[in-house]
Symmetry: D2
């Protein structure tokens, strides 16, 4: 039989790209997803929970436990979310047979995070693809958590002060800067960052998307359905400005997941101390990359720079 040797715990604000990333992981027989924790972000945490259950249903994996987490950022004040992923976060393509919220676990996402990692010390790769609220709460509840992780993979932040949520801040960090600060400073485990500019420069060509979605399978049909809205949005010109001139499709969350699933996927990284700006007028939520040692920090994060060949997730 297949050896399932990669234990993942996945934290999502399930928009379309989170869905793609989850499907990417589910498609790899060597991966075991121990649980999916939900957090506010692209849409309300209730919608996020619904979306995750829909993805699992489409992939016939409803046995994976799903947990509801924070409904707001640490400070409680949400930033405005655009309509890129649709109002429901999943392309506004409703499904009458979608599973109900009664399928959620009763345990809180933060408690589940702490428990699952504690039950699998040194084995869990935590993949965070939304605002980092749940992770920040978890480490403040249990400071020993990061030391028990195998690794942490984050989609979020930026490296050259280019933003998509504000002039200098990427959405996941901007949506909860305090949480991002806590995670980058308190998770002293191997940390892998897939930042905004990297995902822009690593976009998929549109032709590839078309081929991908044209496959004849339930999963491909589900993907096509939820994907339609954001593909239209992404072809919009002003958005391509935000995406640093790129002319392909960005599946932001997929890179962090791909790296967690197969570390050979990333072929070049930078290693620097990082932090998050909390108080700037234009820079609140911006990631700080300390290339010169100004911050006197010892822990360094791995910042993804190049990936292997053309990125082709198999759903």
């Amino acid at each position: 039989g297949v050896k399932m040797n990669k234990k993942l715990l996945v934290d999502v604000d399930c928009g379309v790209d989170d869905a793609q990333a989850i499907m990417l992981a589910l498609g790899d027989p060597s991966v075991q997803i121990l649980g999916i924790t939900c957090v506010h972000g692209n849409t309300t945490v209730e919608n996020v929970c619904k979306n995750v259950l829909r993805v699992l249903q489409a992939c016939r994996k409803l046995e994976i436990p799903v947990f509801k987490g924070a409904d707001k950022p640490i400070l409680g004040t949400s930033i405005s979310v655009g309509n890129f992923h649709g109002q429901d976060g999943l392309g506004d393509a409703p499904d009458a047979s979608a599973p109900g919220l009664d399928l959620l676990q009763r345990e809180n996402a933060v408690s589940a995070l702490i428990r699952i990692v504690d039950e699998n010390p040194g084995e869990v790769s935590l993949v965070a693809m939304g605002p980092l609220t749940n992770l920040a709460l978890a480490v403040r509840m249990d400071p020993s958590l990061p030391g028990k992780l195998k690794g942490l993979y984050i989609m979020g932040g930026n490296t050259e002060s280019r933003g998509n949520a504000s002039v200098c801040a990427e959405f996941n960090f901007a949506a909860d800067p305090e949480a991002a600060f806590v995670v980058l400073n308190d998770y002293q485990c191997p940390t892998h960052l897939s930042c905004w500019e990297f995902t822009c420069y690593s976009q998929l060509p549109w032709e590839f998307c078309d081929a991908w979605l044209g496959q004849d399978s339930d999963k491909a049909r589900f993907m096509t359905k939820i994907f339609h809205h954001s593909m239209e949005e992404a072809k919009n010109e002003s958005l391509q400005d935000v995406c640093l001139g790129c002319t392909g499709f960005i599946s932001c969350d997929s890179y962090a997941m791909a790296a967690a699933v197969d570390e050979s996927f990333i072929t070049e990284t930078d290693r620097y101390p990082v932090s998050v700006e909390l108080t700037g007028t234009h820079t609140r939520g911006m990631m700080i990359v300390d290339t010169s040692g100004f911050l006197k920090k010892t822990h360094k994060a791995s910042i993804m720079k190049k990936l292997k060949g053309c990125f082709q997730p198999t759903v």
Copy 2:
């Protein structure tokens, strides 16, 4: 028999004045303390736990459950603590027969807060006498918590921009400004604030302290022992500057507790919307009192202004 009709849940960073406040509550037969949650602040959270157990032992109340909570503020960066309460937070007067940390509950303080309030809906008065980290984490874990409280009593903040931890910030708020912000904005329950300037103006005369501590009882002897250090510190001149010129003793935490135990204790209050400054150079952690409606907030806190007669806690 005595009717125990006042259910209190107490959150402390157990310095000397927290100890006095706990003893004040234990001395009132109508009060039932459902639990004591510990938080970093005057000293490490480990010391806080030890101190609480010592107080309970001195009062022969070790049956009250004690829970360990956050060891750091939300952002993880502690401010420096002076030596007012001694290095161990309780006057550096060690006790060989002090109870061990094995008497602590295994449940996390934040989880306990959520559970106990949930088990006693509408009945619990929560008295917070340290940095508000545990309370902030609790409301982010369970947004329904504040709605189940009878009332919230806080020692912290300031009303006229006078500070003791920095030029404009009071210690409990300065020690975790983000937590104070969350609590003042997300706890939409009846909220009673005992602020820094109020405690300065409401100080006890030294003669009173002397009489109080001279009583012949185990509790009075314990109090005398732990109190010695801070009485010496408090007579120091530069400290009296910080305390706005007062020449008596300030038992900061006792006012919030006294108000929770007996609401007739407070004879005059202001009711205003309040918040916390998070980003100022000199004002980070300062409480904002919105007397003119600039903040467009609807929830108002009760700010203690005057108390009944001379405050004489019975230990």
Copy 3:
């Protein structure tokens, strides 16, 4: 003949209360006004210049030189001004025979400030009743300026975190926080502050205003005319909230001027180091009063606390 032994230089953003203050000074035969410098604030700097010329014309003192100064705060971004003083800053009571701007001096206000003080070393009391932009530019152009002043009298700032332009900031400081910071930190001369709360607590009873304005003189008629608008505004309820509950009329700028004209006018002051918060979310522009020595500054300002009897300016 009368000995004119008090040399004043007056910096204004000439609203109604600036006008009152100028008239107060002109009414004292021992005062010599060396010049009036204009700055943005209650209205545009062009309107301020016009208003000053109208005041001087009403008082038959057009020989006093008037200089145009900064049209914007240091950073260039103006705060919104309410309508308290009317759109033109002087009660929107136009005068067909008002003097033209051709009567302005050609010299820039900042250069004039520097020159006039330099020509009268140790003799000039500088009275600032608007945003402090001109004064800040002047000290950066000529660092020796403050050392040549006899004294500096400022209407601005606050002492207990109550604001009228924002929740925690007084208008003159809020309108140019950087300038206020520069002046409080770089003018190391005798500095006298008439702050917002002080002017609120020292308001004139309405009866007094009525008597004052009822006098039979050109000046009183001019005053009545320009005063009508703000008296109506001041009786408004929500404004009385901002004014800390006072029910009389506040002529903010008059207290600083009165103190400059007759120092016995102020009977009680506090002396503390002061500064200005530049970066707070709610506190930008708030004055910092360092009662406990946190800031490690040596220079102290005199903060007006009580004034002699009932304040009755003679116009």
Copy 4:
């Protein structure tokens, strides 16, 4: 005769690279330097004045007027300066025959800036190679100044959040962030920026420096003398970290000057709205590049990206 058709006004904090840039301009017969204004920065403004006079003496151009400007940034609080340019800003290589400060003009630098531009409307290229204090004061004194400039060339700021004075800020902007903010927002004239990362990527190879300095001329000998200190510093490893890994010599100020002297020198630019962060914990002084239109500004600056061939200034 040579037609001197390029009128330059130069603002410097004369370190070694400012000296190189001045010599570069003096070496071009088509350039007329109308004046050199001095500002605090690499060293005290008094040292800057002395250094400029030494450069002019070495080039036999003492007829060019030199003006003393601001001795402090707008807010008055200087950042610490490293020792890269030596204590005196010019390599600590004193010269017994250096000209005295009596050669300075009596007119203030800010007044001179305003006057000279006013006398040559539409003709002056202003080249700023230090903190922008003088330029900010000038526009606040005379808002019409920028409209009379032919162009503005600035060495300062950064484009990808890499800093040399702090983790995210370049020295000239970090040394007076408010001034940089004012200049980038209020100088609505053609603006050309030579930013930190650009100068790092455009460094000169060491061999080139050696050849340059080996020439047999008074000017080359002067250059060699003042240059020795910073060449030693620049070979230092930790500094090369700050300089983004470059292994050649960076003459920061020379690129802005070269572009002002010969616009064909720059072969590729970006045009974006820009501003400056004033309030961040890590980002104060960082330049904001608004590639996506978040700031809603209409004025765009030209940001230098590539230069023609190998940059070889002729001294």
